[in-house]
């Protein structure tokens, strides 16, 4: 008799060959968990190669999902269950697994050829290398082939159904309904009835396998989470960014334009927005990154709410265009979905190493506002905020998301449209005493668009004369204009929310972060507080300017630790801005911080094991 056990939290990791459809399997499980009312977070982890040679370690694609009856802030540190579709998936993902965790193995794929491709000298199923785990060996491929027998599929097509077979099994384990996925299959394969039937059969057969094999001694229930009341949907950061662009266009009352060039991991935003044409939102797939920013500026010049999306290498190419946006004071939002660099780096892996690029990556004194979302759903709010700042202050604004936020998903409470900020924009139309570089109360210049009678004027990248906007090489004027451009941005500090502290408002340690590390820091800080440590969290969604109470907040803590997925960029910024000491925690492995890693770092620091930060040691060594 199989028992039902209640669990609060489960972390599953599906890993297989890129051709095995693991992203799809993970995505379907996510949907089902979301519809069930669990809180969740996901971490897709895929290779850069579209179809790396089958069976190799560099072709492994994984999808991690954390679902819970409690609040979820991260995709989970270590999985409870690892599904390994082949030896390469096992060898690359075993490090992620919890001791004592369950490994579901596709027995059929552990043949000599696949073991060799993965680099196994001997079959790990036959020695004791997996002895610390609960290993469940199942013939997933043959099981699938049998399930879809007689449907007239080719061997290859039949074999591809094994992701649904596996999904069915996991649905059984966690007592999940198959209906949402069955429905999805029907819609997805509506013009290939035989594939629809095969995948549905595979799913059901996988589910039945759970009942019959008696390899599992329990099924698990994870109750719905107690989320705040409202209507929810599942959303990735890139989806939220796309929706936020449309919302910003509607709330400013401006036509929308996205000029962009495909790049991992930002392309999805273009894919989404290009479907929203009935919102009057135009997308333009430019010939390159430079054309993308320049077309956006051209659109902004004409009075359109303009965006460009890219990743670090693209920002490098856009630098001159962004500088022109600073000089001509035109509103445009540059979305950098950061990835591991430098150069091409690791396109599918996440990193936060473009903060300095956003702040400083242009010639001349060219300050721009920088905002950063902290969760996938927050991308919606921060892209709107970026658009608000751009249009109100007439300036290019950076939106720094990353691959982890962009591809990661979470349940998102859908806001009422009437609750969205009103960002109405009015163009300048009065020809009386019109000066293109006059300033309003927030030092923004008027937005006067072509087609407006009596306001004909010229702008460009040459320095402007204060007020008239004529070309000026006057030394005093250049210095004044440089200062105005800077003070306009600095003034935004009066127009953004203050920095909030989670936990006690003062204490031994403040963990200060920005961007996608929010969830991991949150969990780590809460765990350490539960263990009695004096530690709090503050998270910057505005990097330039920073909230005006930042200095005040920093002062309330004996120490400040800054975990970042880079070599200490925010940390240096905080030190130079506020002249405070900081402890740098840095991870540049293309992977987000786990809460466990941060918990350990906090513990070490507060128990005195870590005194000096590694960057200091390095620079002192250099000095010698």
């Amino acid at each position: 008799m199989i028992q039902h056990e209640k669990l609060e939290n489960v972390v599953i990791r599906f890993a297989g060959d890129s051709g095995d459809g693991m992203q799809l399997t993970g995505g379907q499980f996510t949907r089902t968990a979301a519809l069930h009312g669990n809180d969740l977070a996901t971490l897709p982890d895929f290779p850069a190669e579209i179809r790396a040679p089958a069976g190799t370690t560099y072709g492994v694609s994984a999808f991690q999902l954390h679902f819970s009856s409690n609040d979820v802030y991260t995709p989970g540190d270590v999985p409870d269950v690892l599904v390994a579709m082949n030896p390469a998936a096992l060898i690359t993902n075993l490090i992620h697994l919890k001791r004592g965790g369950t490994i579901i193995i596709n027995d059929d794929a552990f043949d000599k050829k696949h073991l060799e491709l993965a680099g196994y000298a001997s079959n790990p199923l036959n020695d004791d290398s997996l002895s610390g785990y609960n290993v469940v060996r199942l013939p997933l491929t043959t099981g699938t082939l049998k399930a879809v027998e007689g449907l007239g599929l080719s061997n290859k097509e039949a074999g591809r159904c094994k992701n649904f077979y596996t999904l069915g099994l996991v649905y059984w384990m966690y007592n999940r309904p198959m209906e949402p996925t069955l429905q999805w299959i029907e819609e997805k394969f509506s013009n290939r009835a035989e594939l629809a039937e095969a995948n549905a059969k595979a799913l059901k057969a996988g589910f039945n396998l759970g009942e019959t094999v008696e390899l599992f001694n329990a099924r698990y229930d994870v109750a719905p989470a107690k989320l705040p009341p409202g209507t929810y949907r599942n959303i990735t950061g890139n989806q939220a960014t796309a929706l936020g662009m449309v919302a910003a266009s509607q709330r400013t009352g401006l036509k929308g334009f996205l000029g962009t060039y495909p790049i991992t991991p930002a392309s999805d935003i273009l894919h989404f927005v290009s479907r929203y044409k009935n919102f009057g939102f135009l997308t333009f797939q430019a010939e390159d990154e430079i054309s993308a920013i320049c077309s956006a500026l051209g659109a902004a010049y004409g009075g359109t709410l303009a965006f460009t999306t890219t990743s670090g290498p693209g920002v490098a190419l856009k630098a001159e265009g962004i500088g022109l946006g600073v000089m001509t004071e035109l509103p445009v939002v540059i979305c950098n979905i950061q990835r591991a660099g430098p150069s091409t780096g690791m396109p599918t892996k996440t990193e936060q190493s473009d903060l300095f690029q956003a702040l400083y990556g242009r010639n001349g004194e060219a300050p721009v506002p920088v905002v950063a979302p902290q969760t996938p759903g927050d991308c919606f709010w921060m892209i709107m905020e970026a658009a608000r700042l751009a249009t109100k202050y007439m300036v290019p604004v950076f939106f720094l998301s990353d691959g982890y936020l962009g591809n990661g998903a979470e349940p998102w409470q859908i806001p009422a449209v009437s609750d969205l900020p009103d960002m109405k924009v009015t163009f300048h139309t009065d020809p009386d005493h019109f000066h293109p570089y006059s300033r309003n109360e927030v030092e923004a210049r008027p937005w006067a668009v072509p087609g407006t009678p009596g306001l004909e004027h010229r702008i460009g990248g040459l320095e402007k004369h204060h007020g008239s906007g004529g070309v000026s090489y006057d030394p005093g004027n250049h210095e004044m204009m440089t200062k105005i451009r800077a003070s306009k941005i600095a003034g935004i500090a009066n127009d953004i929310p203050e920095l909030e502290v989670h936990g006690d408002q003062e204490g031994d340690l403040l963990v200060l972060g920005w961007g996608s590390t929010y969830g991991a820091i949150h969990v780590a800080v809460d765990r350490m507080r539960a263990r009695g440590y004096s530690v709090s969290q503050a998270h910057l969604r505005y990097l330039n300017p920073m909230p005006k109470n930042t200095a005040e907040v920093l002062k309330q803590f004996k120490r400040i630790a800054i975990p970042e997925l880079n070599m200490g960029q925010l940390s240096r910024l905080i030190r130079s801005e506020y002249l405070v000491e900081t402890v740098n925690w840095n991870k540049v492995q293309g992977m987000p911080y786990t809460a466990g890693e941060l918990e350990e770092l906090i513990e070490k620091l507060l128990s005195g094991e870590e005194r000096m930060n590694p960057v200091d040691e390095a620079s002192m060594a250099d000095a010698r």
Binding site: P229, Y232, L243, K277, N278, A296, Y301, E456
Partner: protein, 346 residues
């Protein structure tokens, strides 16, 4: 049909009467005295009053270089952008503001060297705009280095032993990129320029105009064979659609097709009927005419080399928006936010 009627605007009726002066801004013109740019500016300023647009509907977009100072001198909307990228600004502007008349000003360096890529794409997309490419075969603003249109062997500051790279032929380039309108004119031919500018304005799509422009400081006389009174008629072939190709001071020479090649013939022993007739709609002919500047002994054709009616990118892009609205209705944000699966937490 012109663009204004297509856009459903009726601006012709209340368009004020303009003179060239209305299009002249109060900025001091800073080109070197004697530069060919002055004439181009004057001819554009003389052409605009004849067109069916109000002043505020013109936007002049440029890149970087001597030519790209142009917008400052026009009393219209103007945007002096960055080196080589003007086509991208034009694209973003025109696609979102199809109601405007957008003119792009560029040079041989700006448009064909640093900006060659963008030039290629604006031409193939057929954005409805007019491109004035000032070709002086030299870098002026950076003080005299050779350009991508400089002839092989050109001695300049950066090529003291002569340049070694094969020049690009702008008309061939434009045709190769799929331009829907390609013309050539010369700074010293005011009337011809005005005709071409007006004609280009009326063309729906990217109108690419190569303008031979004398840089009297760094490349003086580059086009003297085409501009000096005593020799020009023997070296310039004015193209007229449907008419035989005749040129020469005494109108005594013509162009004949011999196999796949063009040849110059004397009308003293060849009849006009045997001459090639210009056909602006023939892409084959256009490519052949484009090659003439690279063939010794051949006159340089000026006028409209190629013209093709085809949809513009801006029309198609906005058409997709209209179709989407017809099919799905005006976008409803509330609905969009709720797209896909949702669930309610009570």
């Amino acid at each position: 049909m012109n663009s204004i009627e297509q856009n459903g605007l009726n601006v012709i009726a209340d368009k004020p009467e303009y003179t060239a002066k209305d299009f002249s801004s109060d900025a001091d013109v800073r080109w070197c005295p004697g530069c060919g740019d002055y004439s181009i500016l004057a001819q554009v300023q003389r052409t605009l009053p004849r067109l069916d647009r109000k002043k505020e509907e013109y936007a002049f977009i440029s890149g970087i270089g001597c030519s790209s100072r142009f917008p400052y001198y026009m009393n219209c909307y103007g945007f002096h952008t960055i080196h080589g990228r003007a086509p991208a600004f034009v694209t973003g502007l025109k696609v979102t503001r199809p109601d405007l008349s957008v003119w792009m000003v560029t040079g041989d360096g700006d448009g064909l060297s640093i900006g060659g890529n963008h030039m290629m794409h604006i031409l193939r997309r057929n954005i409805n705009c007019n491109i004035l490419l000032f070709n002086n075969r030299i870098y002026g603003l950076t003080k005299g280095q050779y350009s991508p249109t400089s002839e092989v062997g050109k001695k300049t500051k950066s090529t003291p032993f002569g340049s070694i790279d094969t020049p690009v032929n702008p008309v061939r380039f434009a045709l190769g990129c799929g331009a829907s309108y390609v013309a050539r004119t010369i700074d010293r031919e005011p009337k011809h320029q005005q005709e071409i500018y007006e004609d280009a304005y009326n063309h729906q799509g990217t109108s690419f105009i190569e303008i031979y422009q004398n840089c009297n400081i760094f490349n003086d006389g580059a086009f003297s064979q085409l501009t000096e009174r005593d020799v020009k008629d023997d070296n310039v072939l004015p193209l007229k659609h449907g008419e035989p190709m005749i040129f020469g001071k005494e109108s005594d020479k013509g162009i004949r097709l011999n196999g796949l090649r063009l040849e110059v013939v004397s009308l003293s022993d060849t009849s006009v009927e045997e001459l090639l007739k210009h056909d602006e709609s023939s892409q084959e002919l256009a490519h052949t005419l484009a090659l003439m500047i690279d063939r010794p002994g051949m006159p340089t054709p000026i006028g409209v080399i190629y013209r093709e009616e085809r949809s513009t990118y801006d029309d198609l892009a906005n058409g997709q928006v209209e179709t989407a609205i017809e099919r799905f209705g005006e976008g409803d944000l509330e609905k969009l936010l709720h797209e896909g699966e949702t669930w309610v937490v009570a």
